[in-house]
Structure formats: structure tokens, C-alpha cells
Subunit: 197 residues, 2 copies
Amino acid sequence: MELALLYSGGKDSSLAAVLLDRFYDVRCVTGTFGVTDDWQHAERAATELGFPFDRIDLDETVAREAVARMYEDGYPRNGIQYVHEHALETIAELDVDAVADGTRRDDRVPTVSRAQAQSLEDRHDVDYLAPLSGFGRHAVDRLVEVTFDVEQGPSEEIPKSDYEDELRVLLAEAHDVDAVAEVFPDHEQTYVHGRTD
Amino acid sequence: MELALLYSGGKDSSLAAVLLDRFYDVRCVTGTFGVTDDWQHAERAATELGFPFDRIDLDETVAREAVARMYEDGYPRNGIQYVHEHALETIAELDVDAVADGTRRDDRVPTVSRAQAQSLEDRHDVDYLAPLSGFGRHAVDRLVEVTFDVEQGPSEEIPKSDYEDELRVLLAEAHDVDAVAEVFPDHEQTYVHGRTD
């Protein structure tokens, strides 16, 4: 069975790939708004893990709407959620049996409710899987530790492909760098460099 | 890492076992109130799948309280939920790194909320995993189909070990067989007979 996984090169979506690999032909798919080449980080991480990779073009209008929303809010949550839903809708159009993402039980954003999941499945005739949604932060960290060689650090220093960098660029363009610092508080990111074994 | 999985011999907990097997030393654990020998069905199913098995004694007071609740309600949901929570608390006392169950995204009962999961983890210093909570009914059915040799039929004819039979017996003892028919409407159950491959 063919599965398209929304993939960032980070630990969560990498762990989701390994979990789903037991049952599906997993393809790591990274969405891009065409603003930066950050999707290449995800391609490199997927290749190091041995999964096929695809880049998929997202609608730049969605990115601009998300950026406007984040600037208005003063925080990124609703903008990120909007982009994630758009990315899921986009990969659900692919010719696959299932789509998936790396959302965890403890994530505040993005989240996909049971009703949203069912709606996505019904409209696109595809299964939606969130294999980590029954795993808490501690369990994910332990599994990541035994499974991957991980680089961790402040989000602006870690190569990644989770739309955040593209949204930062668009936010700086629409406003200025102070707006970026205001909307995106410092937080830690991870990037996966292959497996430990 | 050692993991104790609440196991019934049905398709959901069997699929959970296979998913978790990628990362954990999975032990299938079936709780019993000592009312029937139904736990033996789960032992047989676990053995056919190649997983170690343990029986664990549950508190019969809990079963009697659950039966009283179900009789009062006229439906089994709250009683089943109560027993499931007791079973999770019981296996969380075992010397393991993680406990798990086979609850799915679309299950109405039992359910374990994010707050309940966190509380269980904090009080017992253990990870709680619900590996199927991000999988809908359709996805589970497809994965079961390619993974297991399954027997399906009305719940009273399928050998299983999900407390239901023990609760039925206690309900009949406390009241009569009409009470059992009233509380437990007909529904389909599954029993796993080994793998397809």
C-alpha cells in the first residue's frame, strides 16, 4: 500500500516514517511555497533514512494568508495550522492509499481532530494516519534516541523543511525582521542525520 | 525496552502488538477477574503471533461495580470504561518501560484522554502508548486483512478475552440473562488466528 507522509526531516516525521514502514510503502513528501530551497534538507534526511522523497508545490496564496494571520495574532499557531491543513489537502490528492503526518499526542499545533480526519478521508477516498498521536513527548524522545542520529539546536540554526523558514522569509518581506522575532519565539528544533544502527 | 500491552486476542490489540514490535519487547497481558477462563483465548492468540503472554489478576470489586453501573445505565459503555482504566492502572504497576492498549481513533469506548494518559505516566513513571489512536476504522481493517488470519462473528460466539464475557457472567449472576441481553446489544467481534505470511 502506497503512503505519502508529510515530511520535514525532523525527528517526529522521521519516527512516523519508520513506524509506518512496517505496513506501507512510505514516500516522504515535503511541501514548498517556492520561497526557499529548504525542502532540500528534508530530501537529504529522507535519503539518509532510505525513503523515497517527493517535493510538492503548495499554494503561495495560502502562505501569504498564513503570514498575515500570524502577524495579526502576534504568534504563529493559527498560521501554522492553516498551512498544515493545506499541505494535508494537497498530498491527499496524490495517487496513494494513505496520507500521514508526524503529529504527536502532546502537540498543541498542528492538530487534526477526529472530525477533520474523517472529512479528509471521505472527500479524498484515502486513509489519514497520525501514527504518533498516541505517543507522548517522553516516549517519542526515547524512541528517537535509539533510532536516529539527531542534531538539535535553536530553530534558526537547524536545517529543516517545515514551512517555518519560508513563512519567516515572507513575514520579513511583508513587514520586517522584528516582526519575525515577535511572531516566532526561540524554540528548539531537530534534524535527523540517518539511523544509529 | 519492555512494554506490556493490554491484550484481548482481537484484531485491534493484535495489530497494536505488531506495530509496537518495531521498537519494544512486547508482552501481551490479559487481565482477568477470575470469573471465567477466557484469558486462555488471548494466550493462544498471542502464542500464535509469537509474543510472550502474561495473565494479570484484576480486582473483582471493580467488576462488580462495573456491572452495577452497566445495569443501572442499561448500556455497557461506562462500565467497560471503568474496567479498562482499572486494567491500565494495574499493568502500569508492572516493571516495564511502557504500557499500551489497542484503542483506535474511532472507538467510542474505551477512550483515554490526553490528560488521563499524562496522569497515568506521571503517577507510574511509565510511558503510555495508544499506537492505533491515529488510525481510523478503514485503515485498521485494511492492515488487519493483510496481516492476520481473522475469525469474525457475533460477540457471543467468538472466543475472546476483553472482560466482556466475565462481565456478562457477573451480570447474569447479579440479575438474569435478560439483563445481559439488555445491556449488551449484538455486535461483531474478531479473534486472531496467527499471521497471513
